[in-house]
């Protein structure tokens, strides 16, 4: 089968969904003529026209806020924020409005919208274009949160997001757009199901998004040294599939969480607490968190690399955990 990029898989998911569901529209900065800051929507304006692919002014709050109102009245908007860093300007609409409307209104109505954005390091974007802010979303009841790591997941998770009746934050990684892989159109896992990317018996690495690839590289190298690492890709942070994680930890007895977001009160804190709650009896060692450092992201490529986990760090931390 031909190789597809992560970017193309996303575009395919959007395109196919828009063909079958006329209520889907896309709105955001540069999504139309320009084709998206990272090229995801390139060419879609030609197929769907400017009523459905809508370039907006640089007004993040109304991009998300209008999506909320459109979603409440019968459209299924995909609001694109160029960088997840800019969600700060739309946080009221996401957190106080989109996430809470179903609940506040006693279940009368949902907000079926997808907020697409991308985050993470890798392009020297510096402090305001490189953050991993998923913990904020995960900390907000009422939001689904998908963070695909592979071409196939990018496709399926986005297609699935466009069928849900509640808001989905769909976070891509800027370092993955050119990732190539075989798109498996029939391999749709259930929403909220984690995937064991690699089996192993010595310890469990729990991760998602770009860090999965680093974990896989580390696991491959470690296997040559006789260390057998299991790698779990959460795929979605809400819903969170702890069953797959606990099952793995019950076999390996050792768990390490690898995330790109910063350490304190980050996703790794939640994951570590959950593993402790659900698999305490099996743990031979405390859960280890290898996360981004508690610093803003610096611009220098050397410094940037040091601010988030890398393959070497993953390997050395696994060895520490295994006391090797």
């Amino acid at each position: 089968m031909a190789e597809t990029t992560y970017r193309e898989a996303l575009r395919l998911a959007l395109t196919e969904s828009m063909r079958s569901d006329p209520s889907i529209i896309i709105l955001g900065e540069e999504v139309g003529k320009y084709g998206g800051a990272y090229g995801v929507t390139k060419g879609m304006l030609e197929e769907f026209g400017d009523a459905r692919i809508r370039d907006t002014p640089i007004s993040e709050e109304v991009i998300v806020g209008a999506a909320v109102g459109a979603a409440m009245t019968g459209l299924r908007p995909v609001a694109e924020l160029m960088y997840i860093d800019f969600v700060t300007l739309a946080m009221d609409q996401l957190v106080n409005q989109a996430a809470k409307i179903r609940y506040m209104f006693g279940g009368q109505i949902g907000v079926p919208m997808v907020l697409r954005s991308q985050g993470g390091t890798g392009r020297s974007g510096a402090a305001q274009h490189s953050q991993s802010l998923e913990a904020w979303m995960m900390h907000t009841p009422g939001l689904h949160l998908a963070m695909p790591s592979t071409v196939t997941d990018a496709y399926h998770l986005l297609k699935h997001s466009l069928t849900l009746n509640d808001p989905v934050v769909f976070l891509e990684h800027k370092g993955l757009y050119t990732l190539k892989g075989t798109l498996e159109p029939d391999k749709a896992l259930p929403w909220g199901k984690a995937e064991v990317r690699r089996q192993g018996g010595d310890c469990t690495l729990v991760s998602y998004s770009r860090m999965i690839h680093l974990c896989m590289d580390a696991a491959e190298t470690l296997s040559k040294e006789g260390i057998s690492v299991e790698v779990i890709d959460l795929r979605t942070l809400h819903p969170l599939d702890m069953q797959t994680v606990s099952e793995s930890v019950s076999r390996t007895g050792r768990a390490m969480v690898v995330t790109e977001d910063c350490l304190t009160a980050g996703v790794s804190a939640e994951l570590s607490a959950r593993i402790m709650e659900e698999a305490f009896d099996f743990l031979e060692e405390p859960v280890v968190r290898l996360s981004g450092e508690d610093i803003p992201i610096p611009v220098s490529p050397q410094l940037e690399q040091g601010s988030v986990p890398g393959v070497e760090r993953i390997m050395s931390t696994v060895k520490m955990l295994l006391r090797r």
């Binding site: 529209i25 909320v68 409440m72 409005q97 506040m104 209104f105 006693g106 659900e278």
Partner: protein
């Protein structure tokens, strides 16, 4: 004898204005009795004409959002005062089954896309609703109601720009009651000609006297015709907040003379006088109408008092679609960690 149409309308408006005020008075009573869910009750006494006049010009199918002081707007839209009062009391028979309360009341059936407790928070939703209506060509309009305080929020200007840029059937209605909590408008805004701001963004804009419900109605109706054709509009309704910001507030920051003058801007008193002068109703007939409304609102109050509270396990409902799993309770997690049986 066929009634003069203006008479019919005047009497309809009069009843609506009185309904709004009486409803708010009953909310206030409910609070004193300790029957409201919370004390964040923002009464719209003094602002009735904005609600009744604009609503009078709206059509079935139109959508709207309101600010936190939105009881009157929703009531004028045709809301059932019983279910409104029940929601304000946090009861399960309320519009949002006791989950929203005074500041988050909503009803999709009447096009109420929600009251909002974030100043400016509901404004952009009508931009999205307007987009839906435009794409569905259904002729509906989406109207955002908000206070003068929201005139200083950035989202309003993002929303005005996008509405004008996309020619959306959207109307922005500022219920100017001169105050944002305790801060008088002239201490919050460097300029007070809000119509000019709207015009700058390409909106049609006007300011009306909120003591004259007919003026509010006529101007709104006129504007809404163009709004439906894709010319968004802005209307500022000038009124005065008769009472405190919320139920507990006695407005110590306001000048007595100012309050006395402000309370003269009373749309109900003006319309009543007009009705009597025209000979449409005698004073006694006006009194009868007021009595009828009082009864209606007394019943609403009783209904709320007698309604039952939501059951405790409902807290986990409605976070997500009912097809999805409800959130797991904190107790569940604790028991899971300690291997207690799930209670």
């Amino acid at each position: 004898m066929i009634d003069h149409p203006e008479k019919q309308q005047a009497l309809r408006f009069f009843r609506q204005l009185v309904r709004v005020r009486t409803f708010e008075e009953r909310v206030s009573e409910l609070f004193v009795q300790g029957g409201t869910a919370g004390s964040m009750l923002h009464l719209s006494i003094g602002e009735e004409a904005g609600a009744v006049g604009v609503m009078g010009a709206m059509r079935e199918g139109d959508g709207f959002t309101t600010h936190h002081r939105g009881h009157g707007i929703f009531l004028a839209r045709g809301a059932d005062p019983k279910r409104m009062m029940a929601e304000i009391a946090g009861k399960s028979s309320g519009y949002c089954r006791g989950k929203g309360g005074s500041m988050h009341i909503a009803d999709m059936g009447l096009g109420h896309l929600g009251a909002n407790a974030i100043v400016g928070g509901g404004i952009s939703h009508v931009v999205g609703a307007g987009l839906t209506y435009q794409m569905k060509h259904n002729g509906n309009a989406a109207i955002a109601f908000f206070g003068d305080g929201a005139m200083q929020q950035g989202i309003l200007y993002e929303s005005m720009n996008l509405s004008a840029l996309w020619k959306l059937p959207v109307m922005f209605v500022c219920i100017n009651n001169e105050y944002g909590m305790g801060t008088r408008l002239d201490r919050a805004s460097a300029t007070l000609e809000f119509e000019r701001r709207a015009e700058t963004f390409g909106l049609r804009a006007a300011e009306v006297d909120g003591t004259d419900v007919f003026e509010v109605y006529n101007r709104s109706r006129n504007m809404l015709e163009d709004v439906r054709k894709g010319q968004p509009a802005f209307l500022k309704v000038n009124s005065y907040r008769f009472h405190g910001h919320a139920r507990m507030d006695k407005s110590p920051y306001r000048d007595q003379d100012e309050e006395r003058e402000g309370r003269k801007k009373d749309a109900i008193a003006f319309l009543r006088q007009h009705i009597v002068e025209e000979g449409w109703y005698q004073e006694s007939e006006c009194d009868e109408l007021v009595e009828e409304v009082k009864q209606e609102m007394d019943e609403a109050l009783k209904y709320a008092q007698q309604s039952s509270n939501p059951s405790p396990e409902e807290i986990y409902d409605d976070v997500f679609d009912p097809e999805t799993d409800n959130p797991v309770s904190v107790d569940f997690r604790i028991r899971q960690a300690l291997h207690y049986s799930q209670g």
